[in-house]
């Protein structure tokens, strides 16, 4: 089991563009959470998906949206990119509520 995988590993975009990040959960996991980690900060919760629905959302604008597919993989979409969206985006998966979250390696997004 490769664990949680994310693609791409790195991405460079310009302001105003849109980006899609992808995550495949660990085998047997059905819940996916997304976090944003700015330089020098801890990860901040964006939202969580379970049974293909957004279950909870953190303090992020509507420009951040997501999706979960029937195979439990997930996408994070960010529209109208701002310079401040430059960060490491982490995906974490778990098997059910209140179980340990396993993190992926992250996608590093740079917005110019």
């Amino acid at each position: 089991d490769a664990g949680v995988t994310q693609s791409p590993t790195h991405l460079i975009k310009t302001r105003g563009q849109q980006v899609t990040l992808r995550c495949s959960p660990k085998s047997g996991h059905d819940t996916v959470s997304w976090y944003q980690q700015a330089l020098g900060q801890g990860p901040q919760f964006i939202f969580q998906y379970y049974e293909e629905e957004e279950r909870q959302r953190g303090n992020f604008p509507d420009r951040f949206s997501g999706h979960q597919f029937p195979n439990y993989s997930s996408e994070l979409n960010v529209n109208a990119l701002l310079l401040g969206d430059s960060a490491l985006y982490l995906c974490a998966s778990s098997s059910s509520r209140r179980e340990t979250q396993y993190f992926g390696p992250g996608t590093r997004l740079l917005v110019l």
């Binding site: 976090y35 801890g42 990860p43 919760f45 969580q48 279950r55 909870q56 778990s94 209140r98 179980e99």
Partner: protein, 110 residues
């Protein structure tokens, strides 16, 4: 408001010295506390959670609800303990959303 505070950005010790990484939290419900570690060029991984009450790699952490703290301790630091350590707060209702502190970088010198 739910919050996690790690007051030290950097903690430097020599090999064999005791280590204590501080974590304080603010939460009105029943908290679940975690320590995550990130070694150089590796992904974030769970080190321990308070509910397990176990020692991992010689590290322990006790939840002190009176002081709202969950400090991470190790009696004798090893060079391989050098890493970034994050304290995280869970127990948020129906989800396992985690609230992280800003992290403490532990440097263990030989």
């Amino acid at each position: 408001a739910q919050r996690v505070t790690q007051p030290e950005k950097l903690l430097s010790v020599f090999k064999g010295a005791p280590v204590e990484l501080k974590c304080n939290y603010s939460y009105s419900g029943s908290p679940e506390l975690f320590w995550y570690v990130q070694y150089s060029r590796q992904r974030l991984q769970l080190l321990l959670r308070h509910i397990s009450r176990e020692s991992i790699k010689g590290f322990t952490a006790d939840l002190n609800k009176g002081e709202t703290s969950f400090h991470l301790k190790k009696p004798f630091a090893q060079e391989e303990d050098s890493a970034m350590y994050y304290c995280a707060l869970g127990g948020n209702g129906n989800t396992d959303k985690l609230i992280f502190g800003t992290g403490t970088r532990l440097q263990v010198f030989p």
